[in-house]
């Protein structure tokens, strides 16, 4: 009897340590991708050197010599904001994806399912093409960002408002989000239709999703909101497991499914809005990173959440290296992630066979 017991215990320990191992592995990958992204570029800076320069700057060491100053400038002013934004956006979108897929109990759900991205696109386009700023004191890039943030909260706001008056099932929440999304993208299309091709091109590239607009001034906002939201999602990851086993199960285990859904929806929308407003719509990560990680660590959200965050951060930062340097003006990072990630994802699906 005690033998079986120890066997069971060892089995469980191995099972858990495998998951922890994957989480550690993904974290290491994410950390390596930072160095890669910092050192990658037209101006040659060594892999280890880039870490050194980065941490020296944090510790307040003043670089000496012209070359050192240039390197410090390139790392700190040009590459670091982009890399940090990549980490924040990658981790944030992946965590939101995990949450949405469990909350909606739907493998097709992603951070944008509630219509966040259509709101952000519309907000940006209203400023870029029509010149309307919802926060009158702002101009330029910041006005577009503020517009995007405010409008991207509308769809989720509507879902929550409706859910206060009536019982809302996950399918209903999704469909409300979808209908708002259609409405917003219809307005976007309408504006694009009547405007000049050059403006359309500008607006299109805004919405395509890039890390290129990251600066030190906008990192604290998104970093603050995203990390707070991620922390809450981590805390809720146990409850997410209950939610994904069905409303009846969740209720009989002492969880209020409707209330939890609304809370999580608010958190996901805030996190996604604060990412999308700065980067545009970066697809793929939020939807596919959780699925990819699920193949390795299984669907227990307590492990899936941190693993996906690390993996999403790694994926986006690494992909951005290519996106930055490709062509003359660079590519939207979403293009690179999807181009490499799409086939990779298919391959993983085939290899894992029935375990999807």
């Amino acid at each position: 009897m005690s033998d079986a017991n120890t066997d069971f215990k060892t089995g469980y320990m191995i099972y858990i340590s495998k998951k922890v191992l994957f989480i550690t592995l993904f974290c290491i990958l994410a950390a390596l991708s930072v160095g890669l992204a910092l050192s990658f570029g037209k101006y040659p800076i060594g892999f280890l050197e880039s870490y050194e320069i980065f941490f020296d700057h944090i510790r307040g060491r003043v670089p000496e010599g012209e070359i050192a100053v240039t390197k410090d400038m390139i790392i700190w002013e040009l590459r670091a904001p982009r890399v940090l934004m990549g980490l924040i956006a990658g981790a944030g979108l992946a965590a939101c994806g995990v949450t949405m897929q469990s909350v909606m109990r739907n493998p097709l759900a992603d951070p944008y399912t509630t219509g966040v991205s259509s709101g952000a696109s519309l907000g940006a386009i209203i400023y870029l093409i029509l010149g309307i700023s919802l926060v009158p004191t702002l101009i330029g890039q910041n006005a577009a960002i503020a517009n995007a943030f405010l409008l991207s909260l509308i769809p989720a706001g509507l879902i929550i408002l409706i859910s206060r008056f009536m019982k809302t099932t996950p399918a209903m929440m999704i469909l409300i989000g979808v209908s708002v999304m259609f409405l917003f993208s219809a307005i976007t299309s309408l504006i694009m239709l009547v405007s000049h091709p050059d403006q359309v091109a500008e607006a299109y590239s805004w919405t395509a999703g890039t890390l290129g607009r990251a600066t030190w001034s906008n990192i604290p906002i998104s970093a603050g909101i995203v990390s707070a939201c991620c922390a809450i999602m981590m805390v809720y990851s146990g409850k997410l497991n209950l939610l994904s086993s069905g409303d009846k199960c969740a209720r009989s285990l002492g969880l209020n499914p409707d209330g939890t859904r609304v809370v999580l929806l608010v958190i996901v929308s805030f996190a996604t809005a604060s990412i999308v407003a700065f980067t545009g719509t970066i697809g793929f990560i939020g939807l596919v990173a959780p699925h990819m990680v699920r193949i390795f660590v299984g669907s227990d959200n307590r492990y899936l959440m941190p693993a996906s965050m690390a993996f999403g951060a790694f994926m986006l930062t690494a992909a951005d290296c290519l996106a930055r340097e490709a062509g003359t003006a660079g590519l939207p990072v979403g293009v690179v992630t999807a181009m490499i990630g799409g086939p990779l994802f298919l391959y993983l699906l085939v290899r894992k066979g029935k375990r999807t």
Partner: protein
């Protein structure tokens, strides 16, 4: 006992009657709005005359060239009717695609494009446009449509191939569809970002979806694929009902779920690709019209399928007519109007569901 069973029977008849009534109402709406659609345009032809002209033409009437009747016949038959018929066919085909996908994948978010068909079609059309094909010449038109259609079949073909190695479960199909559509879409974005502003705009406009290019030449293909797709779904509504109960129930009730799904996917991809390679990516109808109809008459696919076909046709046609009259003499693409008109209706109907709508409730 006797009266109880009588009551039950009566109740059942009432239940079926309501569904059939809904279908009939939709068909009447189609016939009426189609004629109204034919009265729109430069030359004034009255509502009743439209029917006369159409029936006379079908009856084989010929007119002296240049006479007033001849002009009426020519304008209605050659210019206005193709567009109306195209709206009916496209609306029907896309709704049937939506119904089959939602039931067979057991997912309320599924639509005809879930398996990545739209991304393939889009890629085909965009690459043709960037290679210099335009709608101004016949050759260019065929180039775009053919390319769009062929590329539209790639995602489905890939999924079908894939299902030989992996199981054909809904989850696998959805995920494979996601992977393929993201890959194609990344190419689309890449092409659009790198192309000239003018090309980008024309591609963008193509994507929204419009019926303004309708002509009789396009219709045979579209009609054929739609009829095949609809007939298949209408004949297998019972199988779809089983699939909605879930994979295990369907299999234990004797349905080879995997094979059915593959066949269904193959047929529907051809019909969807056949439609949207002519019209562009018309969203909304395929996703939403099944949901609206399901909320009104329930989820039994035997009634839902014909009802959603009729409703989808009516919805698309009405949206197209609104798009034509709202900013005369210019017109708005039907894709935009659909969302403008449809989304609020959809929201209203969702909110009317007191018990909450599960998306797949019986």
């Amino acid at each position: 006992m006797e009266t109880g069973s009588e009551n039950l029977k009566e109740e059942y008849h009432g239940y079926v009657f309501r569904k059939i009534l809904f279908i009939v109402l939709c068909i009447i709406a189609i016939i009426v709005t189609a004629a109204y659609g034919c009265t729109l345009g430069g030359r004034e032809i009255s509502f009743v005359d439209v029917y006369k002209v159409i029936f006379n033409h079908i009856g084989g009437a010929t007119y002296e060239q240049g006479s007033s009747e001849w002009w009426d016949d020519y304008i209605i038959w050659e210019i206005r009717l193709p567009r109306i018929v195209m709206a009916i066919v496209a609306g029907c085909g896309l709704s049937i695609g939506g119904i089959a996908m939602q039931s067979m994948l057991n997912n309320p978010l599924a639509d005809p494009y879930t398996t990545g068909i739209s991304s393939g079609v889009c890629f085909g059309a965009i690459s043709a446009m960037v290679m210099g094909f335009t709608y101004s010449s016949i050759l260019g038109q065929y180039g775009i449509v053919t390319n769009a259609f062929l590329f539209g079949l790639i995602p489905a073909a890939a999924i079908i191939l894939l299902s030989r190695f992996v199981d054909a479960s809904p989850a696998t199909m959805i995920l494979a569809g996601i992977a393929i559509s993201y890959t194609f879409n990344s190419f689309n974005t890449l092409i659009m970002i790198t192309s000239e502003a003018e090309t980008l705009k024309s591609v963008y406009v193509w994507q929204i979806g419009t019926l303004s290019r309708a002509s009789w030449n396009d219709l045979p293909t579209m009609l054929t694929v739609t009829i095949v797709g609809s007939a298949f779904v209408l004949l297998t509504t019972r199988q779809l009902n089983l699939l909605m109960l879930g994979e295990k129930s369907a299999i234990s009730l004797g349905l080879d779920a995997g094979t059915y799904r593959i066949v269904c996917l193959a047929i529907l991809s051809v019909s969807t690709a056949g439609i949207i390679s002519y019209t562009g990516i018309i969203g909304f109808v395929g996703l939403v019209s099944p949901h609206i109809v399901r909320m009104l008459i329930g989820a039994d696919n035997r009634y839902l399928a014909p009802a959603a076909m009729a409703f989808g046709s009516a919805l698309l046609m009405v949206a197209d007519i609104i798009g034509r009259i709202i900013v005369q003499p210019a017109e708005l693409p039907v894709g935009v109007i659909l969302s403008f008109v449809g989304a609020p209706i959809f929201l209203y109907i969702i909110m009317r569901q007191k018990k909450g709508y599960g998306g797949d409730l019986y």
